[in-house]
Symmetry: C2
Subunit: 373 residues, 2 copies
């Protein structure tokens, strides 16, 4: 017997799993949290180095932002920039390197203290001003011409940090100013997760191995594993069963906070590549940076190099067999959970081939809001 | 930016990390818990399939118990057995296969419902009686001649489930009865954890990679990574810097709950194999089963095949260089944490070579007790 304990992963990008949380999420009763407590817990979660280490070590993320900022140097040179949720300040430094006249690096969490040191170490105190606070409360001495932010959470909207970017846009961005990135898109595809199949099959292997028939555990295992938690996992190309369908597009220049709160919706239609058992949907996103030549895309697609966002996996109650060209249609809506506005819920209505329409609502087990402050 | 969310690992035995918990443990203020709440949270943590899957999939664990029970069939045949914390009931079935007349499978958690099904599926309802409850409260119709239990937690004593085994021994074991396993031993060795070195070095690599000097982050990273959390990690043989020293031995026939509560203590002395930087201690355990021919040992040593317990890693404040034959001495005491009696604290006083004596107290960030019921 053992009670799971926090363990450090040996693989920064591959293995930051959280099975304790996973398990405890079955234990813990959800409850509403007041906004201030949600925020405190949210910002506190960025006080450890691991999360910043993982984000900066994500080459796809960091390199794409760097390239996007450098390629926009004409729009940034001599301009005033606002970095929303600056963290360690790395994006602010990229902007200063791209010629920004001034960068306001707004960061609510104590990592801002490290950002100050890093700015100093790079001799950019004259160009970059780290401001500790939320973008909703800080007071900037001037309006800005550029907003840069790395605000994307799991399944794009988990954390609802985009709200803060939109707030900053409406309050601080000059007319005609630019936002990096300027567009976000959500995609979905049916997948077959072999790990789940192996885990369910496991209970049938024990009779041969130990002489104990434990196959009756597979029902219980199915209920536990194929639950309505949003699972963040790396989906391999071979497991994607159709061309992904685009669910929704958010134009960061025009989308409103109200639209995000009401819910981000989209219909989809996919056709299966071949015969397989669908046991989940995979949801992922891309964000696009405007560039003088051609737009630059940061993609978290399973068909592209892995990022720390991996993909959001939504399990069906039970696997459904499909053959080539089986049509999978549905509608997805994403909205903030009732327990914590920072946590996303994903509701999926789907029809697979001739099967009757199914519905399921998924959410990310809310660790921060369940901790005892 | 992203707030870590629970993620399912692709590797059941290798990657059950818990970075959310790790991070949140910095956020959450500890507080005392009443015993009943501790117990509820503790038993609730066994309601998910993952934990049972991982334990049964641990071949070293499951095979060693099976062999130990089979080799003790002479002591078990025709006898009455008590399985303390039976879980899915696999050990009870091994005992029935070894010829037990009757097995009382006592399990407090709802997994007991699965144990009932498994017993039925193996046609052993006549031999095995699954009893839902804690061993402290259940009433058995008779005394037993054998107690079997898989009670070991991280660093052996995390969870303090041994207390329940000792309670069962004093209340239900007949004089001259046997306990499987009957002995537990704790070991310690200085190690060099290269993952930590790589993580600290990471901040020096960013200047070349992105043109941003972030080396000043390494102090912050050191404070975050080399903290006083007990980290459960796989220590590779190459990283062990001396012969492990035995800290303590517990004879399950004679040790008392009072002795466990007062603290399990031990002195150690190690001599370094060669030149290296010590940045942690590794603590692990073995348990021994009496067998007619020779005792059978279940070892969680880094020199033996990996188990799901891996090893408990205790980080120093800062690395200390050693050369061949550098003497590392100290004293370790393990005792229940003040916040939750089920959670272990490990206090280490140590002296490395000519360096002055250091002290540090480690604990496993207590997830269950921080969750909101």
């Amino acid at each position: 017997m053992f009670l799971k304990a926090p363990k450090r992963s040996n693989c920064l990008l591959g293995c930051l799993s959280c099975t304790t949380a996973e398990k405890m999420s079955h234990v813990v009763k959800k409850r509403k949290l007041d906004k201030s407590r949600q925020d405190r817990l949210y910002f506190d979660s960025y006080t450890d180095v691991t999360i910043h280490e993982e984000m900066i070590a994500d080459h796809v993320r960091t390199n794409t932002y760097r390239m996007a900022i450098m390629r926009n140097s004409e729009s940034i040179r001599g301009k005033v920039v606002l970095d929303v949720g600056a963290g360690t300040g790395v994006l602010s430094i990229f902007c200063a390197q791209a010629g920004a006249k001034k960068v306001y690096a707004v960061e609510a969490c104590s990592i801002a203290e490290q950002a100050v040191k890093i700015v100093k170490q790079n001799n950019m105190e004259d160009k970059i001003e780290v401001i500790r606070g939320t973008v909703e409360t800080v007071d900037l001495p001037e309006k800005v011409e550029v907003i840069v932010s790395e605000w994307m959470g799991y399944a794009l909207l988990h954390e609802s940090m985009l709200n803060s970017v939109l707030y900053a846009r409406d309050k601080w961005l000059q007319p005609g100013g630019i936002i990096l990135p300027s567009k976000a898109e959500l995609y979905i595809a049916p997948i077959s997760d072999p790990v789940v199949e192996d885990r369910l099959h496991f209970w049938y292997t024990l009779k041969d191995q130990y002489g104990v028939d434990m196959s009756c555990m597979s029902d219980f295992a199915t209920r536990c594993i194929m639950n309505s938690d949003i699972t963040v996992n790396s989906v391999t190309v071979e497991d994607v069963l159709s061309h992904p369908a685009r669910l929704a597009e958010l134009d960061l220049h025009s989308v409103t906070v109200e639209e995000l709160l009401r819910s981000v919706k989209g219909k989809f239609r996919c056709e299966s590549f071949g015969s397989a058992a669908v046991n989940a949907f995979c949801v992922y996103f891309t964000v696009t940076f405007p560039c003088p030549d051609k737009p630059l895309v940061l993609s978290t697609s399973p068909f592209k190099p892995e990022t720390h966002w991996k993909q959001a996996v939504l399990y069906l109650d039970a696997p459904v067999d499909v053959v080539q060209d089986t049509v999978v249609t549905g509608e997805v809506s994403m909205y903030p959970s009732e327990e914590s506005a920072r946590h996303i819920c994903i509701h999926v209505d789907y029809t697979i081939g001739e099967h009757k329409r199914q519905s399921r609502t998924f959410s990310i087990p809310d660790w921060s809001s369940e901790a005892q402050p």
